[in-house]
């Protein structure tokens, strides 16, 4: 009897270990998470408009149907990304996710405070390689550090009523998400002259 109880106890303890390991491993083995789903339909380092959410097909669940959405799936291995998103009439936001769907940064049009949300996305190593004086002269440029080399940028524009959806989509269609040349090696090569 005691032997049986010990067996059960050992099973429960090992079950606890299995539970912890499986919860922690889930993000790394799932193929149904948002990043994996969107990776199948989006090219790398380009802005892709998502179709408006509707009951029959939504690229991912729980999308807000009041928003126009676009995705830039990035890969920083060939250099930092330069993102420019024109602000729409109502509300525009840019959210950053790692390749494991962790939201590490988000900014909206008001905190960006401009007509265009402009920022540079780079890994911590690339950020460290940016010459310091340049960082000062370009102080009005926002730099975001990505914890992973790949991930997602989600661009959203609110259509405050359904009639404004076309306008919201049009403002996102003008957004760009590009690798910025061979930077950050040579500061003079950077296409930063505008503004």
């Amino acid at each position: 009897m005691i032997r049986f109880l010990l067996t059960v106890l050992a099973g429960l303890l090992l079950g606890g270990v299995v539970h912890l390991v499986s919860v922690l491993a889930l993000p790394y083995i799932s193929s149904q998470d948002a990043y994996s789903r969107l990776a199948r339909i989006t090219p790398i380092n380009a802005v892709t408009a998502l179709p408006p959410a509707d009951p029959d097909h939504a690229p991912i669940p729980f999308l807000d149907p009041a928003f126009a959405n676009a995705i830039c799936r990035y890969d920083l291995s060939s250099g930092p990304i330069k993102l420019a998103v024109p602000v729409s009439q109502a509300y525009t936001s840019v959210s950053f996710y790692t390749n494991n769907d962790i939201a590490y940064y988000a900014i909206n049009d008001r905190s960006a405070g401009r007509k265009v949300i402009e920022l540079d996305l780079m890994t911590e190593a690339q950020h460290a390689a940016v010459p310091e004086d340049e960082e000062i002269t370009a102080a009005d440029r926002l730099i975001v550090d990505s914890p992973t080399a790949t991930g997602l940028i989600v661009l959203k524009a609110l259509a405050a009523d359904p009639g404004l959806m076309a306008q919201a989509q049009a403002s996102l269609a003008a957004a760009t998400c590009k690798v910025q040349g061979d930077a950050p090696a040579k500061p003079s090569d950077r296409p930063q002259a505008r503004r």
């Binding site: 009951p55 988000a106 008001r110």
Partner: protein
């Protein structure tokens, strides 16, 4: 022989218990780090890198992207204020005011996070299109048949959930109570 049986029992038990609890927590979620106001529940840390492993498991399993903290916060309700599950065949009222935010949206999803088909193609309301009372409060009627005023159709599905998303809002990790974030009440008015 006995050793093999014992080992097999331990392994089977461990697999059932371990994977079973993982499945339960990643499907239903846990109360870790939740902010509950009335029938509404939010996970303010899900939009940050401090998200807990259980909340992560839920997000990974459902395939959604959590709303980033610099963007806003999402409150979910599966039941009315008296803990009764939201039923699409019933007549349900959502009324009151919302916490301060530049914009908000209220959306109706089925249990898996899909929008619910209806002839009006109305899946929710935004703060701009809602019809308000003179004092700024509003009332939304959620029912399968048409209602006067702000009507949100359910398509008659059995279970649904409401998501109230606040955009550009001070509500977040520091929010604790109804006083900081007055959420609208959810009442089941009647069932056929």
């Amino acid at each position: 022989m006995r050793l093999i049986l014992t080992t097999a029992l331990i392994l089977v038990l461990a697999a059932v218990v371990g994977l079973g609890t993982t499945w339960m927590t990643s499907t239903r979620g846990t109360d870790l780090g939740t902010l509950t106001i009335g029938a509404w529940t939010a996970r303010p840390r899900s939009g940050t890198t401090e998200i807990n492993p259980y909340a992560r498991a839920v997000i990974i399993r459902s395939g959604e992207l959590p709303i980033g903290t610099g963007d806003g916060i999402a409150f979910i309700a599966n039941t009315d204020d008296s803990k009764r599950p939201l039923d699409g065949r019933c007549d349900i009222k959502v009324d009151g005011i919302t916490p301060p935010a530049r914009f908000w949206t209220l959306t109706l999803y089925d249990a898996k996070g899909r929008l619910v088909a209806n002839t009006l193609q109305r899946y929710g309301f935004t703060s701009e299109e809602i019809v308000r009372n003179a004092d700024g409060s509003f009332a939304i009627r959620i029912a399968s048949r048409a209602r006067a005023g702000n009507w949100l159709p359910t398509g008659g599905i059995e279970r649904y959930q409401l998501v109230l998303r606040l955009y550009d809002t001070p509500v977040g990790i520091a929010t604790r109570t109804q006083r900081d974030a007055p959420m609208p009440a959810i009442t089941t008015v009647g069932c056929p």
